[in-house]
Symmetry: C2
Subunit: 302 residues, 2 copies
């Protein structure tokens, strides 16, 4: 019998391969001047876990899906938004990070002006991809699906920025768990939720009833993801993380380990993953890919 962690790796790996290809196809469709082009490829193609696209694919694969191309566009779009946020978060006026995924951050490699503009264009490129006919064999687009995806993605992108503001406001201050979770619901949770929902709206049937379950799953896995991130910032090395470890403590950032202690944070992460899995019960076997992604996320080392 294949071990669970092996199966998990395969689902993630298949998603990573697909998104890597689709991102390449998408980026290659743009005609960008240098050095913007190199900065955009640098920011997008360095890898990363590609969790958001994987979640989008997993939802869109829960039943036979004639609109799967729209889910593929959404997976690219949500990853482009994520990448734009990384390029901007790393800027000197924000986190001033020098290392990302084991490589120099965008502004270190290309300068602040180009990194700013790379982030800016990645956001509009996300909406261009969403409204394009990329990956579509039939050359037809269901406008109502795209409209819903645009609403979902735009709202999540705005929330992400609000979360970033709340996070900056909280630096060096004592905040409680409710405030911390409000930050993360916006900063990382909203985009994870959006990845799921943009996949869900491509499905034909029954998703109206399913949406609340999926939304609950999204909230839990989004929060679990963040708690795990906070833990890894403490227990992992810079080498494993691919970004500067211990950074949170350095800037007196509010984190779950800081708030509740490392052991309690690890328990909390485990519980949130279990709760996320429980939210998937409604879907039965259709949720197998989502389950595997949850398993992977709990066991990840970076």
């Amino acid at each position: 019998m294949t071990s669970i962690s092996h199966v998990n790796a395969n689902v993630l790996q298949a998603a990573q391969e697909r998104i890597q290809q689709d991102l390449t196809t998408a980026l290659d469709a743009f005609d960008l001047p240098e050095p913007l082009k190199s900065a955009v490829y640098h920011t997008v193609m360095l890898g990363g876990k590609r969790v958001r696209p994987a979640l989008c694919y997993a939802v869109a694969s829960m039943e036979k899906n004639p609109n799967y191309a729209a889910a593929r566009r959404a997976a690219v779009a949500v990853e482009l938004i994520h990448c734009y946020s990384l390029a901007h978060d790393d800027l000197p006026c924000m986190d001033n990070d020098l290392l990302r995924r084991g490589q120099p951050t965008c502004h270190v490699a290309f300068g602040e002006d180009t990194a700013l503009l790379a982030g800016d264009i990645l956001q509009s490129m996300a909406f261009e991809v969403l409204g394009s006919r990329l990956f579509d064999q039939q050359n037809s687009v269901d406008a109502s699906i795209v409209l819903r995806q645009m609403q979902i993605l735009a709202t999540a992108s705005s929330k992400m920025v609000c979360g970033q503001v709340l996070d900056l406001q909280a630096e060096g201050k004592e905040i409680d768990q409710e405030q911390l979770e409000n930050i993360h619901r916006n900063k990382t949770g909203a985009l994870i939720q959006a990845a799921l929902m943009m996949g869900a709206v491509t499905l034909f049937s029954g998703m109206d009833q399913a949406i609340p379950h999926l939304r609950q799953f999204g909230q839990r896995i989004g929060l679990a993801f963040q708690v795990q991130d906070d833990i890894l910032d403490i227990i992992s090395s810079t080498e494993t993380l691919g970004k500067t470890a211990g950074k949170d403590q350095q800037v007196q950032k509010s984190t779950y380990p800081a708030l509740m202690g490392l052991d309690a944070a690890q328990n909390y992460a485990k519980n949130l993953h279990d709760q996320a899995l429980a939210s998937l019960d409604y879907f039965g076997d259709a949720a197998i890919e989502l389950q595997q992604i949850v398993q992977f996320l709990l066991s990840r080392k970076s």
Copy 2:
């Protein structure tokens, strides 16, 4: 008989009043944390000529238009994109401008981090507004119109960033008129074009034939606008402009007066305005508001 300049002022003024109200309605619909909220209002509500919304309204009013609400959303969206670009262009790593519309720029008033995030969220807010039901009495949205508006706006936003990159690349270099026009076609022309096109797609009939004429008008008025901007940077005072005058020469920016001399640039601007008016002949009396906007743009002092 009312003088032309008086009529012009009225068309622009009516558009400015409408957009000011609609922007307020739109911004008030968002729940933003401080200091982001103040930074966003500061960037958006200080005024400006509101040329892009005015062009969008003028096109959408060319015939009886049951989808006028979609044009109003587009007018707000295009102005939010324009405002995001201003907040980011003014940043220290870009033009490092301290004054905009007679007021401190966003980063001077709120800090670089907040100005960066204000620009970021203004971009996603633009797409949120586009996909919303704002201003809609019937509470119904034609998804295919919104999809086309999203495609137009996202493409123009990306082009704007490319134009900015080309502009930065050209600083301190000698470039010819073709290269200069390529910069401006992207940097300012694309968004002006988008304002017209997002208005056009809300119209029921005949716009397919009309589109090439409108596109030509957009190219000409977009270029005319930029040439006039370059001229005003030289002949106007900082007080009249509301931003630092003489800035272009200071940073050795390629401009039309630098390329062809001030007199020739003024002639060129006049010719472009005339050509823009000629592109409107196709529309007859329906283009009266667009004609008046052109007249106003040629006579503007800031």
